[in-house]
Amino acid sequence: MIAAVKTFVKSLSIGLMLLLPLSLSAQAANSEAVGTKAPDFTLKSNQGDNVRLAEQRGQVVMLNFWASWCAPCRKEMPLLDELHQRYESAGFVLYGVNVESDPSAGDKLIKDLGVSFPILYDTDSIASQAYSVDAMPTTVVIDRDGVIRYVNRGYRGGDEEKYRTQVKELIRE
């Protein structure tokens, strides 16, 4: 029995040692986006005309990449709505970028939750690829000069406070 445990633990440690560098390298890749110019895009909006990111310069922009099948995304939405309503008048705009190829499930969720911020439809994954979205949800905060300042990957309870701090800081600039 002891021999069995030894072999088992050995195989497991080898496995973990080999895979750990991979997961770490994925983390490193994403922090390179901070400080670079936010890639421009034009997407259809649920509130009328198309929206072009470059035209929002002068405002602090938050892009929240979400999907209807993502549980943390659904939890985060009402909290993002609060952020949007609170700071809209101070030069802040929040866009919910729906990454699904078929937006109908997303539209249903928006209706059920009753959120008021504009939703952009990234059905061809143009924006998702441009921003190297590697986690769901991903919340990117862009300053008034169009430079990416924060990339928040995933959502955990309490993260909305972190977003508020980031937005307030950039609004004051």
């Binding site: 021999a3 069995a4 072999t7 088992f8 195989s11 080898i14 496995g15 080999l18 895979l19 560098p21 991979l22 994925a26 990449f65 999907a67 099948w69 993502c70 549980a71 943390p72 995304c73 990454v99 699904e100 190829s101 990234d122 994954s125 998702s128 690829q129 979205v133 590697d134 986690a135 769901m136 949800p137 991903t138 995933g154 959502y155 955990r156």
Partner: protein
């Protein structure tokens, strides 16, 4: 204990680590994977009971569970 199969699992992991490719399914492409029909164990209480029936009536046991897939969130 027969260790050859575990060694094979170890080799599979080695192969995966040597591969220099980036993840080929992006998190925003995981719509199908998040669907309930793609879950190995959507109702643990039901799967657990059926595995219990198999183990009670048959001599073999083990290797029924597993996890992974899903939405890939957070």
């Amino acid at each position: 204990m027969n260790t050859a199969p575990l060694a094979r699992v170890g080799l599979a992991l080695l192969a995966l680590s040597v591969c220099a490719c980036t993840p080929w399914v992006k998190p925003y492409e995981r719509e199908h994977l998040a669907d309930q029909v793609m879950s190995f164990d959507r109702d643990p209480i039901a799967t657990g009971y059926l595995n219990h029936v198999y183990e009670a009536r048959e001599a073999s046991r083990g290797a029924e569970g597993g996890s992974g897939g899903g939405c890939g969130c957070n």
